[in-house]
Symmetry: C2
Subunit: 333 residues, 2 copies
């Protein structure tokens, strides 16, 4: 049932393989009559060329790998969805396929294997921890086309939100509404994003001449519980904050929960600005004021550049682009 190879089909049609191959590629140099006769038959037989034979011969393979560290994937939920959606869009626009990989811990050896075995022709690495940047560089050194999403490395094409600015506008908002004691709930410290948002927070304080207070910074580890614990500590301070900037949406929700439970009014007693605009932020009670990062665009762009890189690997200059974050005003600040 159904023709399996070009050879078979060629025999049945009484033409050469080469001619059918031309039809498949829409090569002009085929008589119109022959063309229609062949393409009708191709349709009918539901013939599709064996990709392995093709890429063995052509040395090309239209597949790109998207590598998630397990942490990012399991805990960051929406984050992963937008990333996949953005990359998938670029892939389908360019007739590429997307392969997914999740790694317990970033594994440069495995990345190399994916490439050298010709499974993929390039890799997109998502949210690599700072400690792993060196390994990513190694992968690149072996000649693997690589781009980074939501992390940064001088020698690799990197795409991320301008997290410093994100932290800055979040904090600035709190300053603008008159807050004097602004706390910060930090994400995991070895993550690129977390450190950058912290910088933005400090920058805004310095700019306005507000003093930076160590006791107003707590680590919430990017999670609900972490946000709760951090907020609880902040509330127990002798001089509790009158505003909080939490560096992702989970910690924000955790913090709000604790504030409400303690009887604090939001934003009257404590104003809150979060990070990431997940669908639920708008529908939370109260609706959360937060900084949105265009994750899907970031992912899309990094994928597009990777495809360029695959086509012309000679490019020396590395791209890097930091996308604009955007403050979404709702009820918490």
């Amino acid at each position: 049932m159904g023709i399996k190879t070009l050879e078979e089909l060629a025999k049945k049609l009484g033409v050469s393989r080469r001619t059918i191959s031309r039809v498949l590629k829409d090569d002009k140099k085929v008589a119109e009559e022959t063309h229609t006769r062949i393409s009708k038959r191709l349709e009918k037989e539901k013939y599709f060329p064996n990709i392995h034979a093709a890429s063995l011969a052509s040395r090309k393979i239209n597949v790109v790998g998207l590598v998630f560290p397990k942490g990012a994937f399991v805990n960051a939920d929406f984050f992963a969805i937008d990333t996949i959606a953005g990359v998938a869009k670029a892939m389908s626009e360019n007739n590429y396929q997307l392969m997914m990989f999740t790694q317990e811990k970033f594994n440069s050896e495995q990345c190399l294997r994916l490439y050298k075995s010709r499974l993929v022709s390039g890799l997109i690495l998502v949210a690599i921890a700072e400690d792993d940047i060196a390994h990513a560089m190694e992968v690149k050194k072996y000649g693997v086309p690589v781009t980074l999403i939501c992390s940064y490395c001088k020698s690799i094409d990197s795409f991320a939100c301008n997290n410093v600015k994100g932290g800055y506008i979040a904090t600035k908002r709190l300053i603008d509404i008159g807050r004097k004691r602004i706390a910060f709930i930090h994400g995991r410290e070895n993550w690129f994003d977390a450190a950058e948002r912290f910088k933005g927070y400090k920058k805004a304080l310095v700019e306005i001449g507000m003093k930076f207070r160590r006791e107003y910074v707590e680590n919430g580890y990017f999670d609900f519980d972490g946000g709760e614990t951090a907020m609880r500590k902040l509330l127990h301070l002798k001089e509790p904050p009158d505003a909080v900037f939490a560096a992702n949406y989970k910690m924000t929700i955790g913090a709000i929960k604790v504030i409400k439970k303690s009887g604090g009014r939001i934003p009257k007693d404590i104003a809150v600005v979060g990070f990431d605009d997940m669908p639920v932020c708008e529908h939370f009670d109260p609706p959360i004021t937060t900084v949105e990062q265009p994750l899907k665009d970031i992912a899309y762009e990094s994928a597009r550049v990777l495809l360029d890189l695959i086509d012309s690997p000679r490019k020396k200059k590395t791209h890097k682009k930091f996308f604009e974050p955007k403050l979404i005003l709702r009820s918490t600040a």
Copy 2:
């Protein structure tokens, strides 16, 4: 830099390709000395076999495709994450790779192509709308190993939550706490899950001898806004419900929002049970009583069975498994 082919390496080592191939496969029939000599060199050269050459020769390819309808992917967020995580686990346990596909609308032609071009050796279809079941059957008829996640078809191996039971236990909970006017917020009607949960709702009502009232059923289209609109309509009824079961977490959150805004107390005035236990449900205000479905397990199992199917395609009997939903009691009912 680095050996590219078996041939090259064979020459350098003064052995035949076949011998190296044996070492790669851990074949016993190689002298120990030869074995260690070769494997050391393999390691050093970072040689990995060309997958295309290998699958061309062996006619095998350790890749499985996971096909999302676009709707399910973009709107169902967490849903997709758990699904991917479960499938990815099965893949890595069996040394398979995972390829992702998102389709605007289910496209059997494309599914067939993926298989016939040997890109994948089987497909997992996620949450196919009822209308598309026929197309899925066609794909199967062409010999593609296929399993279904979160939808059901008699002739295809199917894995889903026991949604009827889920709807039943949700409704039963509301009955048990003494509610007499129980409303239902329906998901998109042509989706398998939605219809099943509705059945469970009706079953619980009938069982207790409560009459089914058409006006207590509203469609919320599985989305926040839909949930809000539906709830608003329900509140405007002459005899508003004293309980609501909403068929997914987004509609649940939408409904709660509207109830709170209208001044209703939860669960005192209106009790609410949701569906899906997303991380945010626990941290919502109020924490949401909901029905959990073991999505990750469902996905894992469907992937495992697909791999079996690929290994031994002769099996006539189709598997189907309906996983147990679980009521998670929190504050809304």
